[in-house]
Symmetry: C2
Subunit: 81 residues, 2 copies
């Protein structure tokens, strides 16, 4: 089965409270110089082969369902692993 | 600034209610043959260069803070973009 990965991240100009919380926790745990932004990762198993059409379908689904495109960006790619 | 990406996914044997909800919603929206598992993506900006030591530090932080290693696996890699 073929796999497509969709990464969803908050837009750079958008506050990221989860990432901020993680960044703060890292500092308190003694890790310095690390800044974190937190997003989501979707692994989509596609029945059959990944054609350009199938990939367009996943991109369409990502835009409608995986990401809130007002505040998030997303990236769709075929997983080569 | 250098960037390290940490992907956190539910272990294959663990139920993934979020992924299941998304998979169900895809079906209802008319997308067929797509199965989704949902995880998290952390983008870690590292001050200075990424040395093996820095990378080990991020891996350590990922294990302690980003992932719950009882139910999740994680993958740490340097972002080449």
């Amino acid at each position: 089965m073929a796999r497509v990965v969709v990464d969803v991240m908050p837009k750079p100009e958008i506050l990221d409270p989860q990432g901020k919380a993680v960044t703060g926790a890292l500092g308190r745990l003694g890790y310095s110089g690390l800044t974190v932004r937190q997003g989501k990762r979707f692994e989509v198993e596609v029945d059959g082969d990944i054609t350009d059409e199938r990939l367009a379908e996943v991109r369409d689904a990502a835009e409608k369902l995986f990401a809130n495109t007002v505040i998030e960006t997303f990236d769709v790619r075929v997983d080569e692993d």
